[in-house]
């Protein structure tokens, strides 16, 4: 019987060792003995693999076959990928991003792309329509993520919504998956955090843009006052609780606050203040052209390649210090780079419009684009999709030939960005795919640092 290396296996030689990394399950092996039959196959660049024995034992071959490093037919891998894809997009599991204040916000971040004049508070009437919508579904799980604007400007609604859905789930037999929230953290006091946590809101994203001076310049309140001290204190207070939350600590950086000196200073402060608390996961992001305008154009990165390299360096610096980074967490399993806007069971919900309907969008970045308006939930709770829905929801798995043997396909399922796929008329790959070997080196280093 002949086998081949699964297409999800990356082969990389570091020094005198060969490493195999399987993106299907994140398992990896190394081999340094040049007389090992696998080593010799790798040196020779063999595509086919024949069963082999080492020291009279079959173990190495069996391990590699049983863990899908070797396959008789690549369709086996494609079937695993497709089955995971189908599980993720199954209509039994609905995921919604709730906009409880539309785009209203108490901050005026220099680079924000949103229109904060679009405001509106969700209340009992919104919840009643949403509840009718859920009652119409035959689901086993519901996930709600809160976004804005600043969602905590409407914390009462958020609490009622999760409370209501927990109760409805008990009645109707579905579970409310733990919720997440993207917040600027200004109102994420210890008390608010605890009350949200008790209602299953357990993951948060909060942004701290470097030191006080930089953060306050980038992320002021509407009256121009800084927010650093309040937000940082809130984070420290949360860290002092014993709850099992996860908080993504995002840092938007420019060449200025992302310089080596500044980022090391920032990371050392985080490490010292949060004492390596693994509930805090770092997410450095270069500021790009997120909005038009003069006021910050000198601050943003002028080159994508420079910005991406700097992001990677920032992440590696954090990992070298033993801190968690979101990129590593994401790479742990399927759908790390799968665009939620492309999923049929995923939608963004806005406050009731003048007709008593909840407007629906797909993408949280293209908030002001007309074709992002994909329908609404009517007052009876019925989801009415318009012609735009199908522009976003496209099954693109293995449609493009280049995806059929791509090591990264389990991470994006051919849909890393539904907006880019639409606007460019082709499958656009996530940037990580272009960094196969660099990424594996980073992963191996991360594993070694976390042994």
């Amino acid at each position: 019987m002949n086998y081949s290396f699964a297409f999800t296996v990356s082969k990389i030689k570091i020094g005198n060792s060969w490493i195999l990394f399987n993106w299907l399950n994140t398992q990896n092996i190394s081999i340094e003995d040049s007389s090992h039959p696998l080593y010799q196959m790798l040196e020779a660049g063999d595509k086919k693999v024949k069963p082999f024995e080492v020291n009279g034992f079959y173990n190495d071959f069996e391990y590699l076959r049983d863990n899908h490093f070797f396959v008789e037919n690549q369709e086996v891998i494609r079937n695993i990928v497709r089955s995971q894809y189908l599980e993720i997009i199954d209509g039994k599991n609905i995921s919604v991003t709730m906009m409880p204040v539309n785009q209203a916000c108490n901050c005026r971040c220099l680079y924000c792309y949103e229109d904060h004049s679009k405001s509106g508070l969700m209340g009992d009437a919104d919840l009643a329509v949403f509840q009718r919508f859920i009652e119409r579904q035959d689901i086993s799980s519901l996930r709600i993520d809160y976004f804005g604007g600043e969602p905590l400007l409407n914390i009462d609604f958020i609490k009622k919504c999760n409370e209501g859905m927990i109760a409805l789930g008990k009645k109707r037999g579905f579970s409310l998956t733990p919720s997440s929230m993207t917040t600027n953290g200004y109102y994420l006091t210890r008390d608010n955090f605890l009350s949200l946590y008790d209602l299953r809101i357990t993951s948060f994203q909060v942004t701290v843009d470097g030191d006080r001076e930089n953060h306050d310049r980038y992320r002021p309140l509407t009256n121009g006052q800084g927010t650093y001290d309040v937000i940082y204190k809130n984070l420290l207070d949360i860290a002092n609780t014993e709850r099992n939350f996860s908080l993504t600590l995002r840092t938007n950086f420019t060449p200025k606050n992302g310089s080596k000196e500044k980022r090391i200073e920032f990371l050392e402060k985080i490490k010292s203040d949060f004492k390596g608390d693994k509930r805090f996961v770092l997410m450095p992001e270069p500021i790009g052209k997120w909005k038009d305008g003069e006021e910050y154009k000198d601050e943003m990165h002028s080159s994508f390649s420079v910005a991406n390299a700097l992001r990677e360096q920032f992440q590696m610096d954090a990992e070298d210090m033993g801190l968690e980074t979101l990129s590593m967490v994401l790479l742990c399993g399927p759908e790390s780079h799968f665009c939620y806007a492309s999923k049929p069971n995923d939608m963004v919900i806005y406050p009731l419009d003048e007709y008593g309907r909840l407007p629906i969008q797909k993408c949280t970045l293209e908030v002001n684009r007309k074709n992002n308006n994909v329908g609404f939930i009517d007052s009876d709770g019925q989801l009415i999709k318009n012609e735009n829905w199908q522009k976003w929801v496209v099954d693109n798995l293995f449609v493009n030939k280049k995806c059929r043997n791509c090591f990264f396909v389990l991470n994006c399922f051919g849909n890393s960005c539904a907006y880019k796929n639409q606007s460019r008329g082709q499958t656009v790959c996530p940037r990580e795919k272009r960094q196969e070997y660099a990424l594996i080196s980073r992963i191996l280093k991360y594993i070694s640092n976390h042994q």
Partner: protein, 41 residues
């Protein structure tokens, strides 16, 4: 003369094994730990 022993492959810990924050109690990657909404293009 006996043949020198061949060293077997070394199995490393998987990324999932070490990134405990990402893995739920059931052993599956816990996607709820990743906030949605702020996708970065």
């Amino acid at each position: 003369m006996s043949k020198p022993k061949v060293k077997p492959i070394v199995i490393g810990k998987s990324l999932k094994d070490v990134a405990s924050q990402a893995v739920g109690k059931d052993g599956k990657v816990d996607r709820t730990r990743v906030t949605k909404g702020d996708c970065v293009k």
